[in-house]
Symmetry: C2
Subunit: 433 residues, 2 copies
Amino acid sequence: MTKLHLNAFLMGVGHHEASWRLPESDPYASWDVEHFQNLARIAERGKLDSVFLADSPVLMGDPGRRPGGKLEPTILLTALAGVTEHIGLIATASTSYNEPYNLARRFASLDHVSHGRAGWNIVTTAGADAARNFGLDDVPLHRERYERAAEFVEVSIRLWDSWADDAIRADKQAGVHADAAKVRPIDHRGRFFRVDGPLNVPRSPQGHPLLVQAGSSEDGRQFAARYAEAVFTAQQTLAEAQAFYQDLKKRAADLGRDPAAVKILPGIVPVIGDTEAEARELDAELDRLISPEYAKRQLEERFGLTLELDEPLPANLPSEDEIEGAKSRYTLIVDLARRENLTVRQLIGRLGGGRGHRTFAGTPVQVADAIEDWSKNGAADGFNIMPAVLPSGLEAFVGKVVPILQERGLFRTEYEGATLREHYGLPRPGVAR
Amino acid sequence: MTKLHLNAFLMGVGHHEASWRLPESDPYASWDVEHFQNLARIAERGKLDSVFLADSPVLMGDPGRRPGGKLEPTILLTALAGVTEHIGLIATASTSYNEPYNLARRFASLDHVSHGRAGWNIVTTAGADAARNFGLDDVPLHRERYERAAEFVEVSIRLWDSWADDAIRADKQAGVHADAAKVRPIDHRGRFFRVDGPLNVPRSPQGHPLLVQAGSSEDGRQFAARYAEAVFTAQQTLAEAQAFYQDLKKRAADLGRDPAAVKILPGIVPVIGDTEAEARELDAELDRLISPEYAKRQLEERFGLTLELDEPLPANLPSEDEIEGAKSRYTLIVDLARRENLTVRQLIGRLGGGRGHRTFAGTPVQVADAIEDWSKNGAADGFNIMPAVLPSGLEAFVGKVVPILQERGLFRTEYEGATLREHYGLPRPGVAR
């Protein structure tokens, strides 16, 4: 089998919503560049493929209850590029609330500054709150968001390709800097965008940043099958993960793509202890620190109805088709609650740790076993590692789990390439002319 | 008198359009982060107030003739923040082709990452080429651009102030991270924007980035008088610079602002030699390397008519009122040609060096004298230093001119503050509630 791909998904002081309340956590770390630089160095020590930052252009959740807000990801990753040499840098950015010229340029710039380590996690941004920061009353329809996203990516690719790789001649004697025929306008006229180009940044080290996608709805899967080189996904069970893996690889093949060039990476929230008891204790301590009333309000907003903490979810929930927000996450939450017959309080405990991602409390060997199990059984090409607590959870993963995966021959012991594409074993795209 | 303020205006391998053709110049430096990091270190060694990056979201000029395109400035400045400790970081960004939520967030993020060194040079972006990268057929009207800019800045200020300075309580025991009453939506509804807020970044070290402005038309001056804390301007003669200085200080006072809190900083393009002859020789060598036919085409586009290289400008030029592009720069060029009775070829030589900014070839003492002259005679609170060739021109300025200014007591010998606002002697704004 090919080697695993592992990303460090960085979120403030951890993915568990109560992680900031632990004695070890710095409650100001979410906006502290040195905190993130430390995390990036740890991840690079573990030879991870990338650090990854989620994002939405809105203040998510209630800042009263957990650290709210985030530094803008392309800026933060530039600061991380300065203190690392190898690790990839993947930023989430919205196609609904950006202009392609500006965003394509930011990613090309990040790719230049990092010498070929940039990746773009393409999202369409669910939620009316974000829409209301950009002149709209409500979020655009799900289908419409994905149609805009497709055109946005097409325009971005044409902008990245608007300079040929050999456009610059730098002939001082003749006074010719670039070969004008190799720097070309794109003259795009589409449904959502008019962009003349060319981009005002020469072609970047990777040609295009790595293209990543993270929604698992019908529209999201089809978008991923067409454009994504890595897919982040939330999967709770092996069977679901296998079904998703097969479905997405088949969709890519049906579109004429090499399925091996679309890496499927489920999220996993490892809670690591030297003994199983120690791991479970940390997990339980975190769950005790959740404020259930607050989490209940969040679920009520997602479902659009009132819930009781010690009752199961009501029977009359809307179907995924009626949801205009994050469709696949909605279905995942409902399925989890139904499958395990959870009360709202129990569901909150399960979601508080990883917000729908697979949580796993155990020893380093158990975590490595879980990773090996999914990757050997057609469920994953790698994982998005989402430590419940940061930096300690990433320290534990890099210090204790990575060596086991390396010993088993499942993970690299040194970086073999220079760029993020090379870490993923993906080719540098040429310029279509 | 108060001390001077000096910014290093960084542009590829220099402001002279032919600088890349010199043997010493690296023709790939314009997209090389290490080149800019070297420049930032030199500027910091000279205790300069800031490094400054111009920008427009379009490929300016003909990439065949000189290095075209630029890395996105907030990304590049983040990379410079990582290798410097004191110097301010001023990025140009357009209010016509950005959304306030995104841009306010980027500057707040840069201010956090740099520990209070961010500045925003607010521009409205002239030129149809840029408009055609953003869905428009032509550039919006000059007046309309400035009306949008004013609303854009008002929204940005409200977003930066949407978190009170003491919003974060970080009470782990009670499970209260921020005081919810101190993180407030802004609910802006205006002619150009609807933005609910709050921003998803807590208030930054400077409160607001330093606000800078660079247009000198009637609309531009009024905008600067209302919002700008530093004004970059192109002035050719002492008399013009004095008139501009007095006009802008008066406009600021008329609006109830302290005129001393609006710093006026003309651009100067120093060409420095150890002897006057050496400086003139470098100046002449650069001018010999200009391609006049190319520069003529650029002037023809600006004026909208055909020119002859060895004739003066025609008499029947349009008035500034008829120009929807960069109004004040247009008038400056026409006045320069008329005042000195220049042919088009001669005008091109004058513009090639500094594109309308004051060029000055001389010894370090002569450059220091020129700076002292304007600053002591009510024409400038400081200067934007625009070396014709980089890095050598900045090395010469920092190594030879700065010590003279320091000896004369005109310029700081050490940084006295930590933030860009402190370098400028400007207060940190409070939150209006």
